[in-house]
Symmetry: C2
Subunit: 226 residues, 2 copies
Amino acid sequence: MKAVCLLSGGVDSATALAVARREGFETYTLSFDYRQRHRVELAAAARLSAQLGAREHKVLEIDLRAFGGSALTSDIEVPKSRAREQMSAGIPVTYVPARNTVFLSLALAWAEVLGAFDIFIGVNAVDYSGYPDCRPDFIRAFETLANLATRAGLEGGRGFRIHTPLIELTKAGIIRLGMELGVDFSLSHSCYDPAGTVACGRCDSCLIRRAGFAEAGVQDPVEYAP
Amino acid sequence: MKAVCLLSGGVDSATALAVARREGFETYTLSFDYRQRHRVELAAAARLSAQLGAREHKVLEIDLRAFGGSALTSDIEVPKSRAREQMSAGIPVTYVPARNTVFLSLALAWAEVLGAFDIFIGVNAVDYSGYPDCRPDFIRAFETLANLATRAGLEGGRGFRIHTPLIELTKAGIIRLGMELGVDFSLSHSCYDPAGTVACGRCDSCLIRRAGFAEAGVQDPVEYAP
Protein backbone atom coordinates (compact mmCIF):
# COMPACT_ATOMS: atom_id res chain seq x y z
CA MET A 1 0.00 0.00 0.00
CA LYS A 2 1.14 3.50 -0.82
CA ALA A 3 1.53 6.35 1.66
CA VAL A 4 2.48 9.99 1.11
CA CYS A 5 4.93 11.15 3.77
CA LEU A 6 5.61 14.82 4.39
CA LEU A 7 9.34 15.18 4.84
CA SER A 8 11.10 18.37 5.89
CA GLY A 9 14.46 16.73 6.48
CA GLY A 10 14.38 17.08 10.26
CA VAL A 11 14.34 14.49 13.03
CA ASP A 12 10.55 14.22 13.31
CA SER A 13 9.58 13.79 9.68
CA ALA A 14 12.44 11.32 9.15
CA THR A 15 11.19 9.24 12.05
CA ALA A 16 7.59 9.40 10.83
CA LEU A 17 8.82 8.15 7.44
CA ALA A 18 10.63 5.28 9.13
CA VAL A 19 7.41 4.37 10.96
CA ALA A 20 5.51 4.31 7.66
CA ARG A 21 8.13 1.96 6.25
CA ARG A 22 7.98 -0.28 9.29
CA GLU A 23 4.21 -0.47 8.87
CA GLY A 24 4.78 -1.83 5.39
CA PHE A 25 3.85 1.18 3.28
CA GLU A 26 5.47 1.98 -0.04
CA THR A 27 6.43 5.58 0.70
CA TYR A 28 6.20 8.68 -1.49
CA THR A 29 7.97 11.58 0.19
CA LEU A 30 6.91 15.18 -0.36
CA SER A 31 9.00 18.23 0.50
CA PHE A 32 8.46 21.92 -0.18
CA ASP A 33 10.71 24.63 -1.41
CA TYR A 34 8.66 27.42 0.12
CA ARG A 35 11.56 29.87 0.00
CA GLN A 36 12.27 29.04 3.61
CA ARG A 37 15.34 30.56 5.19
CA HIS A 38 16.64 27.02 5.76
CA ARG A 39 16.12 25.66 2.22
CA VAL A 40 19.22 23.62 2.88
CA GLU A 41 16.85 21.18 4.62
CA LEU A 42 15.74 20.02 1.17
CA ALA A 43 19.08 18.29 0.66
CA ALA A 44 18.51 16.48 3.95
CA ALA A 45 15.04 15.42 2.78
CA ALA A 46 16.54 13.96 -0.40
CA ARG A 47 19.24 12.08 1.55
CA LEU A 48 16.72 10.68 4.04
CA SER A 49 14.32 9.64 1.27
CA ALA A 50 17.13 7.60 -0.23
CA GLN A 51 18.34 6.20 3.09
CA LEU A 52 14.84 5.17 4.13
CA GLY A 53 13.88 3.60 0.83
CA ALA A 54 11.20 6.01 -0.41
CA ARG A 55 9.80 4.98 -3.76
CA GLU A 56 9.74 8.56 -5.01
CA HIS A 57 10.66 11.97 -3.61
CA LYS A 58 9.06 15.15 -4.93
CA VAL A 59 9.97 18.72 -4.07
CA LEU A 60 7.20 21.18 -4.83
CA GLU A 61 7.82 24.91 -5.05
CA ILE A 62 5.39 27.33 -3.38
CA ASP A 63 6.58 30.85 -2.71
CA LEU A 64 5.27 31.50 0.80
CA ARG A 65 7.61 34.50 0.86
CA ALA A 66 4.94 36.15 -1.33
CA PHE A 67 2.86 36.29 1.86
CA GLY A 68 5.66 36.59 4.44
CA GLY A 69 4.53 36.97 8.06
CA SER A 70 7.09 34.56 9.52
CA ALA A 71 10.75 34.67 10.48
CA LEU A 72 11.22 31.68 8.16
CA THR A 73 9.75 33.42 5.11
CA SER A 74 10.68 37.08 5.56
CA ASP A 75 13.42 39.26 6.99
CA ILE A 76 12.11 38.98 10.56
CA GLU A 77 15.01 37.71 12.69
CA VAL A 78 14.98 34.15 14.03
CA PRO A 79 15.04 34.39 17.85
CA LYS A 80 18.05 32.80 19.55
CA SER A 81 18.50 31.67 23.14
CA ARG A 82 21.14 29.90 25.13
CA ALA A 83 18.93 27.13 26.48
CA ARG A 84 15.66 25.29 25.93
CA GLU A 85 14.22 26.85 29.10
CA GLN A 86 14.77 30.37 27.78
CA MET A 87 12.63 29.94 24.68
CA SER A 88 9.79 32.44 24.74
CA ALA A 89 6.23 31.27 25.41
CA GLY A 90 3.29 31.62 23.01
CA ILE A 91 3.29 31.20 19.25
CA PRO A 92 6.80 32.18 18.07
CA VAL A 93 7.62 34.38 15.06
CA THR A 94 8.90 31.27 13.28
CA TYR A 95 5.26 30.13 12.91
CA VAL A 96 4.45 30.10 9.18
CA PRO A 97 0.75 30.94 8.71
CA ALA A 98 -1.29 27.88 7.67
CA ARG A 99 1.84 25.96 6.65
CA ASN A 100 0.69 22.51 7.73
CA THR A 101 -2.72 23.11 6.15
CA VAL A 102 -1.02 23.96 2.86
CA PHE A 103 1.38 21.00 3.12
CA LEU A 104 -1.34 18.50 4.01
CA SER A 105 -3.54 19.81 1.17
CA LEU A 106 -0.80 19.17 -1.33
CA ALA A 107 -0.08 15.76 0.20
CA LEU A 108 -3.78 15.01 -0.24
CA ALA A 109 -3.63 16.08 -3.88
CA TRP A 110 -0.73 13.73 -4.57
CA ALA A 111 -2.31 10.92 -2.55
CA GLU A 112 -5.52 11.16 -4.55
CA VAL A 113 -3.60 10.92 -7.82
CA LEU A 114 -1.53 7.99 -6.55
CA GLY A 115 -4.57 6.15 -5.20
CA ALA A 116 -3.08 6.36 -1.70
CA PHE A 117 -5.27 6.86 1.37
CA ASP A 118 -2.55 7.23 3.98
CA ILE A 119 -0.64 10.40 4.74
CA PHE A 120 2.11 10.60 7.35
CA ILE A 121 3.10 13.82 9.09
CA GLY A 122 5.65 14.11 11.88
CA VAL A 123 3.80 16.62 14.02
CA ASN A 124 4.36 16.53 17.72
CA ALA A 125 2.39 18.29 20.42
CA VAL A 126 4.77 17.69 23.35
CA ASP A 127 8.28 19.00 22.67
CA TYR A 128 7.39 21.50 19.99
CA SER A 129 7.35 25.18 19.24
CA GLY A 130 3.71 25.80 20.13
CA TYR A 131 2.41 26.02 16.57
CA PRO A 132 -1.39 25.71 16.33
CA ASP A 133 -1.22 23.38 13.33
CA CYS A 134 0.57 20.61 15.22
CA ARG A 135 -2.31 19.77 17.56
CA PRO A 136 -4.43 16.60 17.48
CA ASP A 137 -7.65 18.60 16.94
CA PHE A 138 -6.21 20.19 13.84
CA ILE A 139 -5.20 16.82 12.43
CA ARG A 140 -8.64 15.30 13.07
CA ALA A 141 -10.28 18.29 11.37
CA PHE A 142 -8.02 17.85 8.35
CA GLU A 143 -8.90 14.17 8.14
CA THR A 144 -12.61 15.05 8.11
CA LEU A 145 -11.96 17.65 5.42
CA ALA A 146 -9.94 15.22 3.30
CA ASN A 147 -12.82 12.81 3.23
CA LEU A 148 -15.20 15.49 1.97
CA ALA A 149 -12.79 17.17 -0.44
CA THR A 150 -12.07 14.26 -2.73
CA ARG A 151 -13.55 11.65 -5.03
CA ALA A 152 -13.64 9.25 -2.10
CA GLY A 153 -15.87 11.66 -0.26
CA LEU A 154 -18.42 11.61 -3.05
CA GLU A 155 -18.09 8.06 -4.29
CA GLY A 156 -17.58 6.28 -0.99
CA GLY A 157 -15.00 3.58 -0.38
CA ARG A 158 -11.92 3.83 1.77
CA GLY A 159 -11.39 7.09 3.59
CA PHE A 160 -8.16 9.01 4.05
CA ARG A 161 -6.19 8.64 7.20
CA ILE A 162 -3.69 11.18 8.51
CA HIS A 163 -1.07 9.30 10.51
CA THR A 164 0.71 11.17 13.30
CA PRO A 165 2.85 8.49 14.92
CA LEU A 166 4.87 11.02 16.95
CA ILE A 167 2.15 13.29 18.22
CA GLU A 168 2.39 12.18 21.84
CA LEU A 169 6.11 11.47 22.07
CA THR A 170 8.80 13.61 23.67
CA LYS A 171 11.69 14.68 21.48
CA ALA A 172 13.90 12.15 23.26
CA GLY A 173 11.28 9.48 22.58
CA ILE A 174 11.23 10.39 18.88
CA ILE A 175 15.01 10.19 18.67
CA ARG A 176 15.06 6.79 20.36
CA LEU A 177 12.32 5.51 18.06
CA GLY A 178 14.12 6.85 14.99
CA MET A 179 17.35 5.13 15.96
CA GLU A 180 15.54 1.89 16.64
CA LEU A 181 14.08 2.11 13.12
CA GLY A 182 17.47 2.77 11.57
CA VAL A 183 17.17 6.49 10.78
CA ASP A 184 20.60 7.98 10.13
CA PHE A 185 20.24 11.32 11.90
CA SER A 186 23.60 12.48 10.56
CA LEU A 187 21.69 13.04 7.30
CA SER A 188 19.07 15.28 8.91
CA HIS A 189 18.82 19.05 9.22
CA SER A 190 16.78 20.95 11.84
CA CYS A 191 18.23 24.48 12.11
CA TYR A 192 16.03 27.42 11.09
CA ASP A 193 18.97 29.74 10.53
CA PRO A 194 22.03 27.83 9.36
CA ALA A 195 25.26 29.32 8.07
CA GLY A 196 25.60 27.24 4.92
CA THR A 197 24.84 23.79 6.24
CA VAL A 198 26.11 24.41 9.78
CA ALA A 199 23.36 24.60 12.42
CA CYS A 200 23.28 27.72 14.61
CA GLY A 201 22.61 25.73 17.78
CA ARG A 202 20.50 28.50 19.30
CA CYS A 203 17.21 28.80 17.40
CA ASP A 204 14.15 27.05 18.85
CA SER A 205 14.53 24.13 16.49
CA CYS A 206 18.19 23.57 17.42
CA LEU A 207 17.47 23.97 21.13
CA ILE A 208 14.62 21.46 21.11
CA ARG A 209 16.74 19.03 19.09
CA ARG A 210 19.81 19.34 21.29
CA ALA A 211 17.80 18.94 24.49
CA GLY A 212 16.16 15.85 22.96
CA PHE A 213 19.47 14.20 22.05
CA ALA A 214 20.84 15.05 25.51
CA GLU A 215 17.79 13.54 27.21
CA ALA A 216 17.98 10.45 25.01
CA GLY A 217 21.64 10.09 26.00
CA VAL A 218 22.72 10.03 22.37
CA GLN A 219 25.41 12.08 20.64
CA ASP A 220 23.83 14.46 18.10
CA PRO A 221 25.71 13.72 14.86
CA VAL A 222 25.23 17.13 13.19
CA GLU A 223 27.64 20.03 13.34
CA TYR A 224 26.84 23.19 15.31
CA ALA A 225 28.40 26.63 15.08
CA PRO A 226 30.79 27.22 17.98
CA MET B 1 -12.30 45.10 6.70
CA LYS B 2 -10.11 42.98 4.51
CA ALA B 3 -11.17 39.85 2.64
CA VAL B 4 -9.17 37.42 0.54
CA CYS B 5 -11.07 36.48 -2.62
CA LEU B 6 -10.12 33.47 -4.71
CA LEU B 7 -10.30 34.54 -8.34
CA SER B 8 -9.92 32.22 -11.30
CA GLY B 9 -11.07 34.77 -13.85
CA GLY B 10 -14.37 33.04 -14.62
CA VAL B 11 -17.97 34.15 -14.12
CA ASP B 12 -18.40 32.70 -10.63
CA SER B 13 -15.29 34.00 -8.93
CA ALA B 14 -15.77 37.44 -10.51
CA THR B 15 -19.31 37.58 -9.14
CA ALA B 16 -18.18 36.41 -5.69
CA LEU B 17 -15.59 39.20 -5.73
CA ALA B 18 -18.29 41.73 -6.63
CA VAL B 19 -20.38 40.48 -3.70
CA ALA B 20 -17.43 40.97 -1.34
CA ARG B 21 -17.07 44.53 -2.61
CA ARG B 22 -20.78 45.20 -2.19
CA GLU B 23 -20.54 43.95 1.40
CA GLY B 24 -17.90 46.62 2.02
CA PHE B 25 -14.77 44.50 2.13
CA GLU B 26 -11.38 45.74 0.97
CA THR B 27 -10.56 42.87 -1.36
CA TYR B 28 -7.29 41.00 -1.91
CA THR B 29 -7.59 38.69 -4.89
CA LEU B 30 -5.63 35.46 -5.16
CA SER B 31 -5.12 33.45 -8.33
CA PHE B 32 -2.98 30.43 -9.09
CA ASP B 33 -0.72 29.55 -11.91
CA TYR B 34 -0.98 25.80 -11.35
CA ARG B 35 0.19 25.02 -14.88
CA GLN B 36 -3.42 24.65 -15.88
CA ARG B 37 -4.18 24.07 -19.52
CA HIS B 38 -6.13 27.35 -19.51
CA ARG B 39 -3.50 29.57 -17.90
CA VAL B 40 -4.88 32.32 -20.10
CA GLU B 41 -7.52 32.72 -17.36
CA LEU B 42 -4.86 34.51 -15.28
CA ALA B 43 -5.05 37.52 -17.57
CA ALA B 44 -8.82 37.57 -17.00
CA ALA B 45 -8.25 37.45 -13.24
CA ALA B 46 -5.94 40.46 -13.48
CA ARG B 47 -8.44 42.42 -15.60
CA LEU B 48 -11.33 41.62 -13.24
CA SER B 49 -9.26 42.53 -10.16
CA ALA B 50 -8.69 45.94 -11.70
CA GLN B 51 -12.28 46.37 -12.89
CA LEU B 52 -13.71 45.40 -9.51
CA GLY B 53 -11.34 47.54 -7.46
CA ALA B 54 -9.29 44.89 -5.68
CA ARG B 55 -6.68 46.40 -3.40
CA GLU B 56 -4.07 43.84 -4.45
CA HIS B 57 -3.94 40.86 -6.80
CA LYS B 58 -1.44 38.06 -6.27
CA VAL B 59 -0.74 35.15 -8.57
CA LEU B 60 0.94 32.26 -6.81
CA GLU B 61 2.68 29.46 -8.70
CA ILE B 62 2.11 25.83 -7.71
CA ASP B 63 2.99 23.15 -10.19
CA LEU B 64 0.03 20.76 -9.90
CA ARG B 65 1.24 19.21 -13.15
CA ALA B 66 3.88 17.55 -10.92
CA PHE B 67 0.99 15.40 -9.67
CA GLY B 68 -1.18 15.35 -12.80
CA GLY B 69 -4.31 13.23 -12.59
CA SER B 70 -6.61 15.75 -14.29
CA ALA B 71 -7.37 16.82 -17.84
CA LEU B 72 -6.48 20.35 -16.74
CA THR B 73 -3.01 19.43 -15.49
CA SER B 74 -1.91 16.60 -17.76
CA ASP B 75 -2.25 15.39 -21.33
CA ILE B 76 -5.64 13.76 -20.69
CA GLU B 77 -8.05 15.21 -23.26
CA VAL B 78 -10.74 17.67 -22.17
CA PRO B 79 -14.13 16.09 -23.01
CA LYS B 80 -16.28 18.03 -25.47
CA SER B 81 -20.02 17.83 -26.13
CA ARG B 82 -22.51 19.66 -28.26
CA ALA B 83 -24.89 20.56 -25.46
CA ARG B 84 -25.20 20.91 -21.69
CA GLU B 85 -27.49 17.87 -21.56
CA GLN B 86 -24.84 15.66 -23.12
CA MET B 87 -22.22 16.27 -20.43
CA SER B 88 -21.27 13.00 -18.79
CA ALA B 89 -22.43 12.27 -15.26
CA GLY B 90 -20.18 11.64 -12.26
CA ILE B 91 -16.92 13.38 -11.40
CA PRO B 92 -15.37 14.43 -14.72
CA VAL B 93 -11.71 14.09 -15.73
CA THR B 94 -11.36 17.84 -15.42
CA TYR B 95 -11.56 17.44 -11.64
CA VAL B 96 -8.19 18.51 -10.18
CA PRO B 97 -7.48 16.46 -7.05
CA ALA B 98 -7.81 18.54 -3.87
CA ARG B 99 -7.66 21.81 -5.82
CA ASN B 100 -10.06 23.81 -3.68
CA THR B 101 -8.43 22.48 -0.52
CA VAL B 102 -5.07 23.70 -1.78
CA PHE B 103 -6.47 27.06 -2.92
CA LEU B 104 -8.36 27.69 0.33
CA SER B 105 -5.28 26.74 2.37
CA LEU B 106 -3.22 29.33 0.56
CA ALA B 107 -6.01 31.91 0.89
CA LEU B 108 -5.98 31.15 4.61
CA ALA B 109 -2.22 31.68 4.75
CA TRP B 110 -2.52 35.09 3.11
CA ALA B 111 -5.54 36.04 5.22
CA GLU B 112 -3.67 35.25 8.41
CA VAL B 113 -0.75 37.44 7.36
CA LEU B 114 -3.10 40.28 6.32
CA GLY B 115 -5.12 40.06 9.52
CA ALA B 116 -8.20 39.19 7.45
CA PHE B 117 -10.82 36.72 8.69
CA ASP B 118 -13.01 36.58 5.61
CA ILE B 119 -12.36 34.43 2.56
CA PHE B 120 -14.61 34.44 -0.50
CA ILE B 121 -14.86 31.52 -2.90
CA GLY B 122 -17.24 31.31 -5.86
CA VAL B 123 -18.16 27.65 -5.48
CA ASN B 124 -21.56 26.57 -6.65
CA ALA B 125 -23.33 23.30 -6.02
CA VAL B 126 -26.19 23.69 -8.50
CA ASP B 127 -24.97 24.35 -12.05
CA TYR B 128 -21.52 22.87 -11.67
CA SER B 129 -19.34 20.06 -12.87
CA GLY B 130 -19.93 17.73 -9.94
CA TYR B 131 -16.63 18.32 -8.19
CA PRO B 132 -16.61 17.09 -4.56
CA ASP B 133 -14.83 20.20 -3.30
CA CYS B 134 -17.68 22.55 -4.25
CA ARG B 135 -20.20 21.19 -1.75
CA PRO B 136 -21.45 23.00 1.38
CA ASP B 137 -20.18 20.20 3.68
CA PHE B 138 -16.69 20.63 2.33
CA ILE B 139 -16.80 24.38 2.91
CA ARG B 140 -18.03 24.00 6.50
CA ALA B 141 -15.29 21.45 7.20
CA PHE B 142 -12.70 23.87 5.85
CA GLU B 143 -14.04 26.65 8.07
CA THR B 144 -13.70 24.39 11.12
CA LEU B 145 -10.18 23.49 10.06
CA ALA B 146 -9.21 27.14 9.51
CA ASN B 147 -10.19 27.96 13.04
CA LEU B 148 -7.98 25.21 14.44
CA ALA B 149 -5.05 25.71 12.07
CA THR B 150 -4.16 29.27 12.91
CA ARG B 151 -3.17 31.69 15.65
CA ALA B 152 -6.83 32.56 16.10
CA GLY B 153 -7.54 28.92 16.89
CA LEU B 154 -5.05 28.95 19.73
CA GLU B 155 -5.39 32.50 20.98
CA GLY B 156 -9.15 32.97 20.55
CA GLY B 157 -10.73 36.08 19.11
CA ARG B 158 -12.57 36.33 15.81
CA GLY B 159 -12.85 33.19 13.79
CA PHE B 160 -12.41 32.76 10.04
CA ARG B 161 -15.42 32.72 7.80
CA ILE B 162 -15.53 31.14 4.35
CA HIS B 163 -18.09 33.04 2.30
CA THR B 164 -19.82 31.19 -0.53
CA PRO B 165 -22.37 33.70 -1.81
CA LEU B 166 -23.12 31.68 -4.95
CA ILE B 167 -23.38 28.20 -3.54
CA GLU B 168 -27.15 27.89 -4.00
CA LEU B 169 -27.57 29.91 -7.18
CA THR B 170 -28.07 28.64 -10.70
CA LYS B 171 -25.61 29.76 -13.35
CA ALA B 172 -28.24 32.13 -14.74
CA GLY B 173 -28.77 33.52 -11.23
CA ILE B 174 -25.03 34.10 -10.85
CA ILE B 175 -24.86 35.91 -14.18
CA ARG B 176 -27.81 38.15 -13.26
CA LEU B 177 -26.28 38.92 -9.88
CA GLY B 178 -22.90 39.68 -11.45
CA MET B 179 -24.45 42.08 -13.95
CA GLU B 180 -26.44 43.78 -11.22
CA LEU B 181 -23.18 44.31 -9.34
CA GLY B 182 -21.43 45.72 -12.40
CA VAL B 183 -19.19 42.80 -13.33
CA ASP B 184 -17.91 43.22 -16.88
CA PHE B 185 -18.15 39.63 -18.12
CA SER B 186 -16.41 40.55 -21.36
CA LEU B 187 -13.23 40.50 -19.22
CA SER B 188 -13.83 36.96 -17.96
CA HIS B 189 -12.56 33.61 -19.20
CA SER B 190 -14.17 30.22 -18.54
CA CYS B 191 -12.94 27.78 -21.19
CA TYR B 192 -10.83 24.80 -20.09
CA ASP B 193 -9.32 24.28 -23.51
CA PRO B 194 -9.00 27.56 -25.40
CA ALA B 195 -7.15 28.15 -28.65
CA GLY B 196 -5.13 31.17 -27.61
CA THR B 197 -7.78 33.25 -25.88
CA VAL B 198 -10.72 31.94 -27.92
CA ALA B 199 -13.10 29.69 -25.97
CA CYS B 200 -13.80 26.24 -27.45
CA GLY B 201 -17.52 26.45 -26.68
CA ARG B 202 -17.81 22.70 -26.08
CA CYS B 203 -15.99 21.81 -22.85
CA ASP B 204 -18.08 21.46 -19.67
CA SER B 205 -17.11 24.91 -18.51
CA CYS B 206 -18.13 26.55 -21.80
CA LEU B 207 -21.37 24.55 -21.97
CA ILE B 208 -22.43 25.48 -18.46
CA ARG B 209 -21.54 29.12 -19.12
CA ARG B 210 -23.40 29.32 -22.42
CA ALA B 211 -26.49 27.63 -21.03
CA GLY B 212 -26.40 30.09 -18.11
CA PHE B 213 -26.21 33.16 -20.36
CA ALA B 214 -28.96 31.73 -22.54
CA GLU B 215 -31.18 31.10 -19.53
CA ALA B 216 -30.47 34.57 -18.15
CA GLY B 217 -31.44 36.00 -21.55
CA VAL B 218 -28.15 37.84 -21.82
CA GLN B 219 -25.69 37.89 -24.73
CA ASP B 220 -22.43 36.20 -23.68
CA PRO B 221 -19.77 38.80 -24.54
CA VAL B 222 -16.85 36.39 -25.06
CA GLU B 223 -15.75 34.91 -28.36
CA TYR B 224 -16.26 31.22 -29.15
CA ALA B 225 -14.61 29.09 -31.80
CA PRO B 226 -16.96 28.50 -34.74
